[in-house]
């Protein structure tokens, strides 16, 4: 910080208000056009997913409303009764693809979001505990993390789902187990740095219990890198979920996610009905690209080596 100049009271110009860290983050974030684009994509995706029941032209789960004669219509055609225009066409079960994508985004985002939040919570606690206690606790926990991370995520998830069975909740559990280790490792790294700082020592001197020191003092200071990882990890989680659903071991048919929609379109693709797989994939890509752009840029900004 620059030293305050000695000024006489009457000549003192109004000092510009110092920027809070949040304001600085916002300013620097908005300065990058790609990051802003990512944020816009992300906001649109979340909006669509949240508002799906209100903005979708049709409820794709309501089988009574589907007319089998409308199945596999190309984009832009009208329904038999003329009530709806299928802007993105219909799939094999005569669902309006646009509506199915809106609802699919919902499933994909919920599965991804819930699993990442849970993995973040579990992983942070494990990582903090490991860093705080050190010794054999640290060695044991990190060995488990190492072993888990040496396995490709898709394999672990596949085996877990083979054991757990199908269902949205099962997919979420599998994704949590796959992801917690990333957070544990990152949290430990951040916590090791914080552990050596004086405020931790001060908190210990006040004979606060270790859960309190960990959760109230150290955790908030470890959050920035974890948030970055969570953003990028959410993209991974969504991609992984769609892959698992595509393979037929993910979400059940009754709650189609984007991966399920793409998988449904696969069988019709060879006969030239490209849109059934194409558009859900685009929606998936938009969500993932948005997350990656935002996460990438956040990482650059929150990196301590980042030139300011």
């Amino acid at each position: 910080m620059s030293e305050p100049a000695v000024l006489t009271a009457d000549a003192a110009p109004v000092p510009p208000k110092p920027e809070t860290p949040w304001q600085r983050l916002r300013r620097e974030f908005l300065a990058n056009r790609l990051a802003v684009l990512g944020l816009v994509l992300l906001v649109v995706t979340v909006f669509v997913a949240v508002l799906a029941p209100w903005i979708a032209p049709q409820n794709p789960y309501d089988i009574g409303k589907l007319d089998i004669f409308d199945s596999k219509l190309p984009p832009g055609s009208h329904s038999a009764d003329g009530a709806i225009t299928y802007w993105l066409g219909t799939d094999g079960q005569a669902r309006d693809l646009l509506s199915a994508i809106f609802y699919g985004l919902r499933t994909s985002l919920v599965v991804g979001g819930v699993s990442v939040l849970a993995a973040l919570a579990i992983g942070s606690v494990v990582g903090l505990v490991a860093a705080y206690f050190g010794g054999w606790v640290d060695a044991l926990l990190m060995r488990i993390v190492d072993i888990q991370l040496s396995f490709p995520a898709i394999l672990v998830a596949l085996i877990l789902l083979a054991i757990l069975g199908k269902g949205v909740d099962k997919v979420i559990i599998a994704l949590i187990i796959v992801q917690w280790a990333y957070f544990a490792r990152a949290a430990r790294g951040a916590a090791l740095v914080e552990r050596a700082k004086e405020y931790v020592e001060a908190a210990q001197c006040m004979s606060l219990g270790w859960p309190r020191v960990l959760m109230r003092h150290m955790l908030p200071n470890c959050m920035p890198p974890l948030i970055v990882i969570a953003t990028i990890d959410l993209a991974h989680a969504i991609a992984l979920e769609s892959t698992l659903s595509f393979l037929g071991v993910g979400v059940p048919v009754t709650e189609p996610s984007l991966g399920m929609l793409i998988s449904n379109g696969f069988e019709f693709m060879l006969s030239g009905h490209y849109w059934i797989s194409f558009f859900p994939g685009i929606a998936l890509a938009v969500a993932i690209i948005g997350l990656n752009l935002v996460g990438d840029h956040l990482r650059d900004l929150l990196n301590p080596h980042h030139a300011r």
């Binding site: 072993i147 898709i154 394999l155 083979a162 892959t243 060879l270 797989s277 993932i288």
Partner: protein, 325 residues
């Protein structure tokens, strides 16, 4: 060095034992494989017979003990479905997967490294922006969807390449390879391209970062001062020094590709071991799943070990020590 290798192998054995145990128990709890094996009109007596044949009537712990004692003699049991030795089934499919992974990684490397170096040399050029945007797309686009779209364009609309299968293979010693025949190439191209696109994006990023780190170094400046041509500086001085991160990523990703083959092989009906795993998971063919896991753990550990050994070859300053592991 030798103790380093031995310790790593022992660790691998431990992980293999733990993993196989967990999966064995997990799959045991899930369901009764007999319902898959017996014909629908089988009587209860037939089912008992099958159970006895495969040793499924004994307690779980005993089953596991029997399995492990056989596994130590490299016998991993027989597939519930076909009755063939599980490990044999997998090894039979393995060359197809490895071939696909090798072709894909080579494609990624041959495109990714030059583009990455270019992007590192000219960080502000428009071409670099194009490359980097492309790389974001490369690892953002869901891989299986990219595969589907490639099929749509090249197989359905253009009709240039077949959409599935492995086609003609030629024998090379004990291996049957697709890359030796023209038909094989036409079939391996699309699945390999699908994998390569994602991996190429990663390699571009790593190469670019390494190049940018190496460029301001004194040895580059010195080489310039000696009046060497850029071509020589790039090939000899730069490339040698950025090889370590590239080799690391290459090694780790190779393992990932083999594991991820489950997806690619399913899309392109490529008869590799990933497809076999998925089928076995769906039919609860426990011996095959467990044998696959043991094999893949071994494989991943070997790849990592190889990468570590390569470090010391590439960079004489690196000494293999246990302290870091």
């Amino acid at each position: 060095m030798l103790t380093f290798i031995i310790r790593r192998l022992l660790q691998a054995l431990l992980v293999m034992a733990v993993m196989s145990g967990l999966v064995f128990v997990g799959l045991y709890v899930v369901g009764d494989p007999v319902s898959m094996m017996a014909s629908p009109e089988a009587t209860e007596l037939d089912r008992e017979e099958i159970r006895r044949n495969f040793g499924l009537d004994r307690p779980l712990l005993e089953q596991y003990a029997v399995f492990m004692s056989h596994a130590l003699r490299l016998d991993f049991g027989r597939s519930f479905l076909t009755g063939q030795p599980a490990m044999g089934l997998i090894l039979e499919r393995m060359p197809a997967t490895l071939e696909l992974a090798c072709v894909a990684m080579l494609m990624a490397l041959l495109v990714g490294v030059p583009l990455g170096i270019w992007a590192g040399l000219k960080p502000t050029a428009w071409s670099t922006r194009g490359i980097m945007t492309g790389s974001v797309l490369g690892f953002s686009l869901p891989n299986f969807w990219v595969g589907l779209m490639l099929i749509m364009v090249f197989a359905v609309y253009l009709g240039w390449l077949p959409a599935s299968g492995r086609g003609q293979v030629a024998q090379l010693g004990p291996l049957s390879l697709s890359v030796l025949t023209l038909d094989g190439w036409s079939r391996i191209l699309l699945p390999a391209l699908t994998i390569a696109m994602a991996k190429c994006a990663l390699i571009i990023r790593v190469t670019r970062a390494a190049t940018r780190e190496a460029l301001p170094m004194d040895y580059i400046k010195f080489a310039q001062a000696k009046g060497l041509t850029w071509g020589r500086i790039l090939r000899v001085h730069l490339l040698k020094n950025i090889l370590i991160p590239i080799v690391t990523v290459f090694g780790l990703e190779f393992g990932q590709v083999v594991a991820f083959a489950v997806v690619t092989e399913t899309i392109f009906a490529w008869p590799g071991m990933g497809k076999l795993l998925l089928d076995s998971i769906i039919t609860l063919d426990r011996p095959v799943v467990v044998a696959y896991l043991i094999l893949i753990v071994f494989f991943l550990v070997m790849v990592n070990l190889l990468v570590d050994i390569l470090y010391s070859v590439l960079d004489p300053r690196v000494r293999l020590q246990e302290a870091k592991a």
